[in-house]
Assembly symmetry: C2
């Protein structure tokens, strides 16, 4: 992919929570959704994704349950908790703040708006 992972680093959890705000989902699907949303410009690697799920669940931001698929591979679904919703809103605000700061710090005189 074309985006350096260090630029996304630290946003993994917010990205996952943003997905789960739209409804319960599972790893493979979230992975594909991100690829699709970014026109294959960014991929949240599986190892990264599953370790992030573990962190989020330990933090109480999400909960999980096995789907009742009778055919095909089993799926572990994740659900955002109320705690996770709060975290998500906090992370969104932090991103807005960080975005402005980084713009100021690296863009110099140029205007960073679209």
């Amino acid at each position: 992919m074309s985006i350096a992972s260090d630029l996304i680093r630290g946003h993994t959890e917010a990205i996952i929570l943003a997905n789960l705000i739209e409804g319960d989902s599972y790893g493979y699907k979230i992975n594909k959704a991100i690829l699709s949303n970014t026109e294959q410009q960014y991929e949240l690697k599986e190892a990264t994704l599953y370790t992030a799920f573990k962190r989020l669940e330990e933090a109480g931001s999400i909960s999980s349950y096995w789907g009742d698929e009778t055919i095909g591979a089993r799926r572990r679904y994740y659900s955002i908790t109320n705690e996770g919703k709060k975290t998500y809103h906090r992370l969104k605000q932090e991103w807005q703040t960080a975005k402005k700061l980084i713009d100021k710090l690296i863009m110099g005189e140029e205007n960073g708006n679209d």
Copy 2:
């Protein structure tokens, strides 16, 4: 400071190059400039700063020389190279791309513009 370091991670080099684009400078001063530019909201820690200088110099993005101070502590000045200017412009473009992607991924329906 109020900004999680993982949100800045990966921007350290761009921030330093943005400073040096304005003219030669040295570690302590760049450190204070960032603090001041962000109203103390972000600080590039000294250990981070000096390891980044080393990386940038090894990569040929900056060069350094000792100042000729006759009083006070000695200063090691850094200068951005032509190679470094190219890198800086590339990093700025990457930031613009990443910013849009992250907005799309974590902001959902909301508009991330100021």
